[in-house]
Symmetry: C2
Subunit: 516 residues, 2 copies
């Protein structure tokens, strides 16, 4: 089976031209912030796959099906202060955040994203393995929505048809039924709206109405992944304002004695009443650097003010801390999942998606990990990851021993060791500002979960789930098989959507990709 | 009354930043075709006014109310071959087109745009005057839709509020009710869909299904004004393909002996059945240069093939010819409107919007015009316009005598002389890739009319109107008062929307703008 179907040069040119126009007219773009002027700014299309990448249907559905369990698990973990503290007590950045956490609120809103890659074992089976779990600044959802919409448009437009209907090697003819729609924007919105409604009317007599505060990074080139959320909230008559963590939060917000967070929009008349913040939605504040260096003190103070307030935080500090790699690793230790999940089928479902995870500390498991990591041969099968949320800063395989050799041993425990996921490769065409690529590729599936909970002793464990959206949305990213990192906006990889096929078709295409 | 309200520098910076992000995420962009590469292309935001420009509500409604009469008038003119031939027989480009017109079809689809400016007379009254009437490649509708949506968003976002609620000079506080929505995209779509449905199923047994053909210019930087139409038709399950007039039309279409136009998409498998074209929608083919020079012969042949076919043409050659300036001028001659419109109130309504229009030929009126045009003083009040559709190539005021002096007299009749519309100025802020502008501005209102007709002896005159959309859509462009030309995509002026106010408020603001 051939995929993608063979395209002539002129067909490919036409396809690329259709993609560029579609991206321009749908905001599937990155802002070139270094070209930003008073009166104009340049943009270019974000990296996108020319057509959807093959992915096993069964594993896609497995990942979506697990999301509600993951939502519950992470809501429980976020409310288990003692366990979290114990897990993270040696982590520097966690200490920074811990210092400003405040257990004042009873409600939590999580916009989660669980990332998976396919792992091929020697027996020729393909399994889903979790790369990481994210809860602050879960990006890529809107871009993936767009690229998924684009792939469906290009399919109906007839641009994925092979040049010959009866070629010697049959190619997979992608139909609409292979391409699942994603609804990330509406799912994220529904979560924010639920939390906004739960907060209710302003509590402070000083405030006129409530609003959502969107905490954003300065000089953001990735506005196309954020702005649609902002506009959609306004379309629901919910005032929403983008504010940088520092110095804007300190300048434009205040806390009342009863902890209402008031927002004073700089664009409103001086005499106008402030708004009361119902929900604080973070798309910034997830990097240690944001809290250190010049302005870091202000950022810490700003984060503390937001955390102290009665507003629903998405995420709260504790929820933010749950996605440190240390937590991911700790959850994989024997017996730990059972602390948070009572159903054994749920425990098994989640545990099956775990890679091998080790601490790098002085515990028994840590010492075993250190041995693996320092061994030139054994380290090949591992990735050393700093205990942060999100990708980046990873040390891969054979680079690990040398990296550890020049890192003081007392800092090793800031890392975890994770078995390398060996993804089977399929073929696809990628297009990004870096160039056109035609060759073997590897994809990453991110399943979004949106969940609103209340701390409670009544329901199972520590939390009562108030609203939990069906996990019908995802992000999907694909990169050249030769590149370790996956960050589309940094130029590694492309936004994509999955073309869902049966396992055997997928495996046949993997074998063909390896042969060629 | 002050308008725009006084903004602080930081407020202005915030407003500009909000506008750029909105434009990027909504496709309110121009493609920089000179940066087009295999894998990427740059775009920048199209020129846009920072806020809606003041416009008298009454005159806005007058213009919208007249559109149905204009639709009928131009449908009638398009079906009056004899009168049209007589009016245009001396025009070179008209001769080119006339040679390929073919009266085979009974149905006509017009997507019209009647352009107006405000004319201030010495008595201090403001009237609506028609600049021109367009029917081929009526552009700007989608861009105006977007900018109008953007102004409404920025208004609800609170960005148009004055810094002080009780300033010494009260400023006009623009509310949602001042900002009429426009629905150009849905109106244009409804016209194309009506014509597509009227055509019915494929007539040729060789064709599988019907489709709409979009005739477009190569290297088009203004795709953002066209692509949304294409996508919206696909959303209604109508296959739509963009084809360049030359050489693609000749290569990709064929005529059956019974004049069905068949389209063979290059992106489909060789063995696949062609589609039968129901509607040919022109966004190209309106400039004389497209039919001359290298490839001009092919373009003429292509246009002839499209015209000969049974497909509904938007516009047909005759309809295209109705928008030559000569026709506009001829319609303004005494008694001519009565040939096409039986209701005297309709005649008066239309005639009231006419500027003074003269031919430049050897007729009595023409000789009078030549005298005015050659006179240094008198010519100041006029514009010399080539008999084409659309703007550009105009000679303004005092430049006319010198221009005529170096133009052979036998070519003068290719022009018409039109009294200059003296627009009152108001203040606004414009932002375009050329820069930020703050000062007196002049606007142009284009009212869209979409009308499907059938040639008939039964109904009034020559045509029976089958479908005539309510004229609820428009384009609105604004330029610095110091610039004669208005073409946003060429960098003169900005897309805009009207802030509708009472006449007296408008006039008060005009006086303030003149004083400052």
């Amino acid at each position: 089976m051939e995929y993608p179907p063979p395209f002539s040069d002129s067909h490919l040119e036409n396809l690329v031209s259709e993609i560029k126009d579609w991206q321009i007219t749908h905001g599937s773009l990155l802002k070139l912030v270094n070209t930003d002027q008073d009166n104009t700014v340049l943009t270019h299309p974000v990296g996108a796959c020319l057509l959807a990448t093959l992915f096993p249907k069964e594993l896609f559905e497995q990942a979506l099906g697990l999301q509600k369990v993951y939502n519950k698990l992470y809501a429980q973990v976020a409310e288990d202060e003692e366990w979290l503290y114990d897990t993270l007590k040696d982590d520097e950045f966690a200490k920074t955040l811990w210092g400003i956490h405040e257990e004042v609120k009873k409600e939590g809103l999580g916009i989660f994203r669980s990332d998976y890659m396919l792992d091929a074992n020697p027996a020729g089976q393909v399994k889903l393995k979790q790369v990481e779990f994210n809860t602050i600044s879960c990006a890529g959802g809107i871009h993936s929505n767009l690229v998924s919409d684009m792939h469906r448009h290009l399919q109906r437009r007839g641009l994925y048809l092979p040049a010959e209907l009866s070629a010697p090697t049959p190619s997979i003819n992608i139909s609409a039924s292979h391409l699942p729609p994603s609804h990330t924007l509406s799912t994220i919105i529904s979560g924010l709206v639920s939390a906004h409604k739960l907060y209710g009317p302003p509590k402070s007599p000083a405030a006129e109405q409530t609003c959502i505060l969107f905490i954003v990074q300065p000089r953001n080139f990735n506005i196309a992944d954020e702005r649609p959320i902002d506009y959609a909230l306004w379309d629901q008559n919910i005032p929403t304002f983008r504010v940088e963590l520092s110095p804007a939060v300190l300048a434009q917000t205040s806390l009342t004695p009863t902890r209402e967070l008031l927002y004073h929009p700089p664009s409103r008349p001086v005499a106008a009443l402030p708004l009361e913040v119902s929900v604080v939605y973070f798309r910034a504040g997830f990097e240690a650097e944001e809290y250190s260096g010049p302005g870091g003190g202000d950022a810490r103070e700003a984060r503390a003010r937001l955390e102290l307030s009665r507003a629903v935080k998405c995420p709260s500090i504790l929820s933010h801390l749950t996605t440190f790699k240390k937590v991911q690793q700790a959850l994989a230790m024997p017996g730990v999942l059972q602390r948070f999940l009572s159903s054994s089928s749920e425990v098994v479902g989640i545990a099956n998606t775990f890679a091998r995870l080790y601490p790098m500390d002085a515990s028994t498991a840590g010492l075993e990990a250190r041995k693996l990591a320092m061994d030139g041969e054994a380290s090949m099968g591992y990735v050393l990851k700093p205990s942060l949320e999100g990708g980046g800063h990873n040390i891969y395989g054979s680079s690990i021993p040398a990296f550890l050799a020049c890192t003081p041993e007392e800092k090793w425990s800031r890392y975890i060791l994770m078995s390398k996921i060996v993804s089977p490769t399929v073929h696809n065409l990628l297009m990004s500002p870096q160039g056109l690529y035609n060759g073997p590729v590897i994809s990453e599936l991110g399943v979004f979960g949106v969940c609103l909970w209340r701390r409670s002793g009544e329901a199972e464990g520590r939390v009562e789930i108030i609203a939990d959206r069906e996990p019908c949305c995802w992000s999907f990213k694909t990169k050249s098989a030769g590149v370790d990192e996956m960050s589309v906006v940094k130029g590694y990889g492309c936004f994509d959507s999955p073309a869902l096929v049966d396992n055997d078709v997928f495996m046949a295409c993997c074998r063909d990709a390896e042969k060629s």
